[in-house]
């Protein structure tokens, strides 16, 4: 790599050619403030919060897009720069509803943080305030354009990373707004509710739909028997809400907190993740042996499933019919478990804690009511759970480490892997290998499917069946690439894992927010750090293969009989519906 010599605030530095002044300053310990810039996602130089002075360049420069060059001399902290940055933030604030005290992002807002950092105590500009209607039409995402600062981070993530593209800037100047085309509601367009836009929004303009009250009400209702399940990725991130470093697992404390919140039973989605492996693994083998539709594609990510329904209806038959672990859990809680403990299923209220906003939509699908009731009654994100713990006044760090309840809290390390990209694949391979070969798997770690590369491939020898080719994609733009390859006949995989969110569920749209400045400060991608916590926890588990889960074995013996059996078919499998991408072009009935 070519290096260039530059000077920033008097410090002489050697930095790689091609990086920006913002990045170069970081290496010298200088934190230039930013707002629209988001590492690896948005680099458009729009907000001008990151202004610096470059000698011989005219005017102040946006450092997030200014490339370093041999010999440049940069200043980041002069009265003129401080004044200009402050004016930029004041301008934004002059058209901003000052509702911090009642805002979802209070104390966790990048705009608020800048106002504080720049010492803004009054706003010199008086402007007319634009007012746009709030969009609460979807079960998952709330848009509040009045708080939007037009940074376009959401537009970039929705377009480039997710390849969905329902958000865009419309109109111009004062009327400009970030919205779906024709100012449609999110529920009217092909939004997949992945929540990646919420994850990147620096302010309270995009949030998840808050369902915490629904859960408090159920807990307070003496007639309700409230069970809770927690997805594998939640435990790897929840701690961040309570000051733990990114990449800390807080499984035991989370179980303790849930118990103290008043849930009657604290269960684990990992139990049904193991079950999913048995159903889906057997589905794969059945399709391979009987010449069924291949490649089989995983169906546990509801953002991905909705994306497939809108964009790739020709692949719906490839989707595994297995419900997601959340929905399998819900269906079993109101049948198998209700029967086991002798409680009327009508009284069971089943809550799930998910790293995901799309799960709020999945729960409402009309086809997912096989228990005779809605399989899942409420979905909270990791962030919403953190809110409940805070409202309850718990000192999270002081909580003891507790265990999940039996039997639906028993799980293996394989189930944990569902939280990271490649995890379902790895868990499935551990089981399928042993089922097919009849041998014990020696090396459990399929490292080829781990990590943050967009599309990963591997081949696994499964004698006597032969070699199985698999692929993994995360982030829907990557999924598009992979599917187009399959469509064009350029690949012949038998099994594909797709997760809607980059990094898999650890990077889910319902996870604790990692701000722009934090993303720059972390030594590694935050999703890689969370995944590391998951792999470490898996390595320490006594059981690491789904088919060894004794509670799942008991479930088959007592109730389901066998994978893909009649009861499984009824309770644990589902179907999909093609959805138009653009309502207006949909064929009329």
């Amino acid at each position: 790599m070519e290096m260039v010599n530059i000077t920033i605030d008097g410090q002489k530095l050697q930095v790689p050619e091609g990086i920006t002044v913002l990045e170069a300053a970081r290496t010298a310990g200088i934190k230039i403030p930013t707002l629209c810039y988001l590492k690896e996602i948005n680099k458009i130089g729009a907000c001008r919060v990151c202004l610096v002075e470059v000698e011989r360049a005219r005017g102040l420069q946006a450092s997030c897009v200014y490339p370093v060059a041999e010999g440049i001399v940069v200043r980041t902290n002069t009265p003129a720069i401080r004044e200009a940055r402050k004016a930029v933030v004041e301008l934004i604030l002059s058209n901003h509803p000052m509702e911090c005290l009642t805002c979802e992002r209070n104390t966790n807002c990048e705009l608020q943080a800048l106002a504080k950092q720049f010492g803004i105590t009054d706003i010199r500009f008086q402007g007319e305030n634009t007012e746009f209607p709030k969009d609460t039409s979807s079960p998952a995402i709330v848009r509040n354009p009045d708080k939007c600062v037009l940074c376009r981070r959401c537009v970039s993530v929705c377009n480039q990373i997710q390849g969905v593209g329902v958000l865009g800037t419309t109109e111009r100047g004062f009327k400009s707004i970030v919205a779906p085309p024709f100012e449609h509601l999110l529920s009217e367009v092909d939004c997949v509710y992945c929540g990646q836009c919420v994850n990147v929004c620096p302010v309270g303009a995009l949030t998840e739909k808050d369902d915490t009250q629904l859960v408090w009400d159920a807990i307070n209702d003496p007639d309700k028997y409230v069970v809770v399940q927690t997805a594998p990725a939640v435990r790897a991130a929840l701690g961040e809400e309570f000051g733990y470093p990114v990449g800390t697992s807080v499984t035991g404390k989370m179980a303790a907190a849930l118990r103290r919140l008043g849930f009657d039973k604290v269960f684990d989605t990992d139990f049904t993740a193991d079950l999913t492996i048995l159903e889906e693994g057997n589905e794969l083998l059945a399709r391979v042996k009987e010449g069924g539709k291949l490649p089989l594609i995983t169906s546990c990510s509801p953002g991905w499933v909705k994306f497939c329904e809108h964009n790739y209806p020709e692949f719906l038959e490839n989707l595994s019919t297995a419900k997601s672990p959340q929905q399998m859990f819900g269906a079993l809680a109101k049948t198998y478990y209700a029967q086991k403990i002798g409680v009327d299923p009508a009284k069971i209220f089943s809550v799930s804690i998910m790293p995901c906003t799309a799960k709020k939509f999945e729960r409402q699908r009309p086809e997912l009511r096989d228990s005779g009731f809605a399989d899942v009654d409420a979905v909270l994100t990791t962030r919403e759970l953190a809110k409940m713990i805070k409202v309850a006044g718990m000192d999270f760090a002081a909580l003891p480490e507790e265990k999940f309840d039996e039997p639906m809290g028993i799980s293996t390390g394989a189930a944990l892997l569902f939280g990271a990209t490649g995890g379902v694949m790895e868990a499935a391979l551990r089981t399928v290998y042993e089922v097919v070969t009849g041998k014990t798997l020696q090396d459990l770690d399929f490292v080829a499917v781990r990590g943050l590369e967009g599309v990963k491939e591997a081949s696994v020898d499964l004698p006597p069946l032969g070699t199985v080719k698999v692929a993994v994609a995360h982030g829907l733009a990557n999924a598009r690439k992979l599917l187009n390859k399959v469509k064009a006949g350029e690949a012949d995989y038998q099994f594909i894992e797709i997760m809607a969110c980059p990094g898999g569920c650890v990077g889910g749209g319902g996870q604790p927010l990692v701000s722009g400045p934090e993303r720059m400060a972390l030594e590694k991608d935050y999703r890689a750090l969370r995944a590391k916590a998951i792999y470490a926890e898996d390595a320490g588990m006594p059981l690491r293969k789904s088919h060894e889960n004794p509670a799942v074995q008991a479930l088959y013996e007592e109730y389901l009989v066998k994978p893909l059996g009649e009861k499984s078919h009824h309770l644990l499998h589902t179907h999909y519906t093609a959805r138009p991408k653009y309502q207006i072009l949909a064929p009329k009935e």
């Binding site: 865009g168 111009r172 209806p313 207006i584 064929p587 009329k588």
Partner: protein, 166 residues
């Protein structure tokens, strides 16, 4: 099932066939979106949602991107044009001589905002740049015919003149 663009009526097919041809013509050219939208608007008169969605599918870009362009440039319209097009000059000379007030009056009289079309389809109201008739400022044109040295009071006469005209 599946394909979202099986679009019923024969008349519609013509419209979409035309779009196909335009897109085909610009195939593989960088930065062709604006000329494509322009040709289509020339032919259809406006760019309604189904047309934009169809272009989005054909060109494999998100509809939000096309809508972003269409709503950014006043050149494009998502609504059908009225029978008569009123363009009010907002160039400097006209502006200082009260073009803004004329425009306000037109908005009030017609009950629409700039860029919109009256419900009965008779008028579309637009603002434009210098028409090169600064000597007559403030100026507006209706269907290309120049009306100069206007006062706010004369606005309703201009409207009346065209109202029932074909």
């Amino acid at each position: 099932m599946g394909c979202a663009c099986q679009c019923g009526s024969g008349q519609k097919e013509d419209k979409f066939e035309f779009i196909d041809r335009v897109i085909e013509r610009y195939k593989g050219q960088e930065g062709s979106m604006i000329p494509i939208l322009h040709s289509i608007q020339q032919k259809l008169g406006y760019l309604p949602e189904d047309v934009q969605a169809y272009i989005a599918e054909k060109m494999e870009v998100p509809l939000s991107e096309i809508y972003g362009i269409v709503s950014f440039y006043t050149l494009f319209s998502t609504q059908p044009k009225g029978k008569h097009k009123i363009s009010v000059c907002m160039g400097t000379a006209c502006y200082v001589r009260g073009a803004g007030l004329i425009l306000d009056e037109l908005e009030k009289e017609l009950g629409i905002r700039v860029g919109e079309t009256t419900k009965d389809g008779s008028f579309t109201l637009e603002a434009c740049r210098c028409l090169g008739a600064c000597g007559l400022a403030p100026v507006l044109t209706v269907d290309g015919r120049v009306h100069g040295r206007l006062t706010v009071d004369e606005v309703d006469q201009v409207i009346a003149e065209y109202k029932d005209k074909e």
